[in-house]
């Protein structure tokens, strides 16, 4: 019997081996084949100039000048290849423009069961989801994702006095609260606006922003549609301040009721929260009393019947849902090669390309030094040497697949550039020059090098974490080449946050992802980070020259002067190298072919201000929307 069993066993194993090999070849072959075929659909470039309108809409800015600029040609080759196809300023509105009313937009995303929106520190995404996407603000960001220009929304116009200390807002007429508890469709009044602004600026218990906008002295009603904000110092960034993503106007009736405020926020916007199941989904439905119209088409908004945010934690599951048309958008996907594979599976898929610091949010992996602690890093030559030893081109190519730019605190347009700084041709201070680095170390008395302990986060599994891990390793090697030994003190937890900085740790140096702080205002953000009195000055920078520049920038009224001061702040920062900027990858967000109005409706805060509020987004059922999701368009808005 035994020999017979052995033969059987051998045959069985052989069959299993052949089956497994076949499956593996089949699986790999499919990916390989797809990989080898670039399938990126090209979007035609729009040439409509950016134009702000009172209704808060604008056409995407012209891309041609940007793409033709010398600075653009300095960017990595791969960026030059991909950017023109997918950057938002190249998206063209469908022609003819016939938005469809109805349908529900579905996108991935979790929520943390806490809806408080302006309270101190409640930086959870539920509250921000509502305020950023669904509640109108007095002033909001326009659709132009390039320059992040603020435009009137609930106000019709605003004016700033020549000294930058008095702002006059004229409210739109005919706005009502949604037909639901607690305001029950009553008229939105100037008293509502005043109460909201008073709460934002002066209610220290409930508003985290009260501590930030200390310049504001009073909010006064002029007539039934006009109010003024008076400040004790020039506050040029006030409109930007009011356009931040958590500034969605809320109703007094709900805000003052603890249960309502924390349980089911009520505000004024195109959509209202209908249902929320923790860990499952958040469902929003159309506000039927919404009175806003799209400026270009004159059509009433919103187009969608609703919006759902479904909780799917895993990226593969999100991609699977996207592939099968269950979702209209999914989270950013990298690397580019992988995205190309998915584009093969989803014909007509569109991609939104977002870049470092454009988003006023993720501004790249940055090394900072604790100047309150003694160590070689207190010598500016050492910091400069450490920067010169970093080959940013290599970081970009290895850690980000060549699709990156230099990530900095100050957005490129603040310093008058058309695009990001390139790691291939960086500013002088960020060039790769190991010989000069060694010389500087020698001049500083550290010819034989030293050891530096860098506190950083534990890379987990996200793309950003993988990039972080690569940067940790590469920079370690680069610094070792000039004799500086790096020891990473890795803290548990992800790296996509300021957690590392928030932890009270006596770090000599820090590697983390830097964010712009203080909302979307670069001047305030930089002041917080770099000013000796700044609340986010973790490095204990104390430079009177920089302090003066930052103070001047914060209070400057003239735009040209502001840009000049921004340039000076950047130059001073780069010269003193308090923070060593590295690189940051571009993000690529996929959308289904039927998901229209990407610029105005993408499900992500395309900038940190969360300008995309879905009110102009719509679904085209004729463009491949799955049968299960088909809907009968509403004939009447």
């Amino acid at each position: 019997m035994k020999p017979s069993h052995s033969r059987l066993a051998r045959s069985f194993l052989l069959v299993v081996a052949v089956l497994v090999t076949g499956l593996v070849i089949l699986a790999c072959g499919k990916e390989q084949k797809a990989k080898a075929t670039p399938g990126a659909p090209t979007q035609a470039a729009a040439t409509t100039p950016s134009k702000a309108t009172p209704s808060g809409t604008s056409q995407p800015a012209a891309a041609s000048a940007r793409l033709a600029s010398a600075e653009f040609k300095e960017l990595p080759t791969k960026v030059q290849e991909i950017y023109p196809k997918f950057h938002p300023d190249t998206f063209k509105r469908p022609d003819p423009y016939e938005p469809v009313y109805g349908g529900v937009w579905i996108s991935p995303g979790g929520c943390n069961a806490n809806w408080e929106m302006i309270g101190a520190g409640l930086g959870n995404d539920c509250g921000q989801l509502v305020t950023a996407r669904f509640f109108n603000r007095l002033i909001n960001w326009g659709d132009d994702l390039i320059v992040e220009k603020v435009e009137p929304e609930v106000v019709e116009t605003w004016q700033m006095s020549p000294d930058g200390m008095k702002f006059t807002f004229k409210l739109r007429d005919g706005i009502t609260w949604p037909d639901a508890q607690p305001a029950n469709g009553r008229k939105f009044t100037v008293q509502d606006a005043k109460w909201w602004l008073d709460t934002l600026f002066f209610d220290k218990k409930n508003s985290a922003f009260a501590a930030e906008a200390t310049e504001v002295q009073s909010v006064d009603i002029v007539d039934d549609r006009t109010l003024t904000i008076t400040t004790n110092k020039p506050f040029v960034s006030l409109p930007n301040f009011l356009a931040q993503k958590r500034m969605g106007i809320q109703a007094r009736e709900c805000f003052e009721d603890d249960k309502c405020r924390k349980g089911k926020p009520y505000g004024f916007g195109a959509f209202q929260l209908k249902d929320y199941q923790e860990g499952v989904k958040a469902v929003f439905e159309r506000n039927q009393k919404y009175v806003f119209k799209e400026a270009q088409s004159g059509k009433p908004l919103p187009y969608l019947d609703g919006f759902q945010r479904i909780n799917i934690g895993d990226v593969e599951a999100q991609v699977a849902a996207f592939r099968t048309g269950q979702m209209d958008s999914t989270q950013q996907l990298v690397p580019w090669e992988r995205l190309q594979v998915i584009m093969k599976d989803v014909p007509g898929m569109r991609v939104f390309m977002d870049g470092p610091c454009m988003a006023l949010f993720n501004c790249g992996f940055t090394f900072s030094f604790n100047l309150a602690k003694d160590g070689p890093w207190k010598d500016v030559r050492v910091r400069q040497a450490l920067s010169l030893a970093i080959d940013r081109k290599k970081l970009c190519d290895v850690a980000m697949g060549g699709i990156c730019a230099i990530g900095m605190h100050i957005p490129y347009y603040e310093v008058g550039r058309p695009v990001y700084f390139s790691p291939y041709q960086p500013p002088t201070q960020l060039r790769y020059d190991p010989e000069q680095a060694k010389k500087l170390l020698k001049d500083a008395g550290f010819e034989s090098g030293f050891t530096i302990k860098v506190t950083t986060g534990q890379p987990a599994g996200s793309q950003s974490d993988l990039e972080m891990a690569n940067i940790q390793n590469l920079v370690k090697q680069m610094w070792e080449a000039i004799g500086v030994k790096t020891e990473y003190d890795i803290l548990p937890g992800g790296t996509n946050s300021n957690t590392v900085a928030a932890i009270k740790k006596e770090w000599p140096a820090l590697l983390n992802t830097r964010y712009l702080q203080g909302g979307a205002r670069s001047d305030i953000s930089m002041w917080n980070f770099l000013h000796s009195k700044g609340v986010a000055n973790y490095s204990s920078i104390n430079d009177p020259e920089l302090d003066k520049l930052l103070d001047d920038w914060k209070s400057a009224v003239d735009q040209r002067k502001r840009m000049d001061l921004a340039k000076q702040v950047l130059a001073r920062t780069l010269d003193q190298m308090w923070a060593i900027y590295t690189v940051d990858g571009f993000r690529l967000d996929p959308y289904e072919p039927w998901a229209i109005n990407l610029a105005g409706g993408s499900d992500r805060a395309s900038n940190s201000s969360g300008m995309s509020n879905f009110q102009k987004a719509w679904l085209d059922p004729k463009k491949g929307l799955p049968a299960a999701r088909q809907f009968t368009p509403r004939s009447k808005p």
Binding site: A120, G123, N124, A208, I312, G313, A321, R323, T499, V535
Partner: protein, 316 residues
């Protein structure tokens, strides 16, 4: 027997208390507290207020007092409020338990049916192609992690069959078919791993029992195969298998953490992961304490079941 149960029960309580102390301390040792986590996206304004928020949350109290307050609440059936959401810990757990329970029961069911059936078949048909196939599946199930199988299933079902599990969890009573689609696949994946262990244990114990004299006697008496295998062999071989099944409970709980995240199921696993990430102390303490209690209880149950299944076992 009664004395044994009482003794074990007291020991179980002591174990749960130890777990409570450990959990309470361990979650607080993780760098960055809940307030720091809350400040992720709004660090500037938050920095100003966070000491005040810590005070309001009771995090500035001495650690022993915090522990005493928590335990006091537990003894009164109140596990406190989630420090993140300010909602009842027990309420959130109650909302999540049915999902995990359904997933766990289906997975265990799958594991027991698959494991016992394949194990018995493998033993009875030793060294045949059925045996090799069963053993290969078992080895495969053991060597492939749940999350990997899960990812492969998600990835290739969408690639090859344009199929993805329906979005947005629906309960069985709300939409039975959707629910089974949502729960069935992760339960199968979880069960596959569990069944592998059960199958191997069943096979080896069955083989041992099948070689016993009394089985040969049963065959010699001309009893039917079913009667010999199920009536005589399985009853004696199943004891270690019951132990294994009982011990698999922590695996089920552990496995759900990843699978629930992967398949978007709002169960205990997802809540645990979320609580860890958010440093939601009270929520995490509540979950761990309850899980520990369940596991300890099941172990106790397994030990007691020994006595019922095997009359030779006597407790003193």
């Amino acid at each position: 027997m009664r004395n044994y149960i009482v003794r074990r029960f007291i020991l179980a309580l002591f174990t749960i208390w130890l777990v409570s102390v450990f959990t309470f301390g361990a979650v607080r040792l993780v760098p960055g507290d809940v307030v720091d986590q809350m400040g992720i996206q709004s660090a500037v304004e938050f920095k100003i207020a966070k000491d005040e928020i810590r005070r309001r949350m009771g995090l500035t109290q001495p650690i022993y007092r915090q522990y005493a307050n928590w335990m006091g609440g537990v003894f009164h059936g109140d596990f406190g409020k989630s420090v993140w959401t300010q909602t009842s810990v027990l309420q959130r757990i109650k909302q999540r338990i049915p999902v995990s329970l359904e997933l766990g029961i289906l997975a265990m069911l799958f594991a027991v049916i698959m494991g016992l059936a394949v194990g018995i078949l493998s033993a009875v048909r030793q060294d045949t192609i059925l045996d090799y196939l069963g053993r290969s599946v078992a080895i495969g199930g053991l060597s492939m992690p749940d999350f990997w199988i899960g990812i492969m299933v998600v990835l290739y079902s969408s690639l090859w069959f344009s199929y993805a599990v329906p979005l947005g969890y629906k309960s069985f009573f709300e939409a039975p078919l959707t629910n089974l689609q949502q729960i069935g696949i992760p339960a199968g994946i979880l069960g596959l791993r569990l069944s592998a262990v059960t199958m191997r244990m069943t096979r080896s114990t069955m083989l041992e029992v099948l070689r016993q004299d009394y089985i040969r006697t049963a065959w010699a008496k001309g009893l039917a195969e079913r009667s010999v295998v199920v009536g005589h062999a399985l009853r004696n071989a199943i004891l270690p298998v019951v132990t294994i099944i009982g011990n698999q409970l922590p695996l089920v709980i552990g496995g759900t953490v990843i699978l629930e995240a992967l398949f978007g199921l709002p169960g205990m696993g997802q809540l645990t992961l979320q609580s860890v990430n958010q440093r939601d102390y009270t929520q995490l303490q509540g979950i761990v304490l309850l899980m520990a209690a369940v596991i300890v209880f099941f172990n106790l149950l397994v030990d007691i079941t020994y006595g019922i299944l095997d009359p030779r076992i006597r407790y003193t």
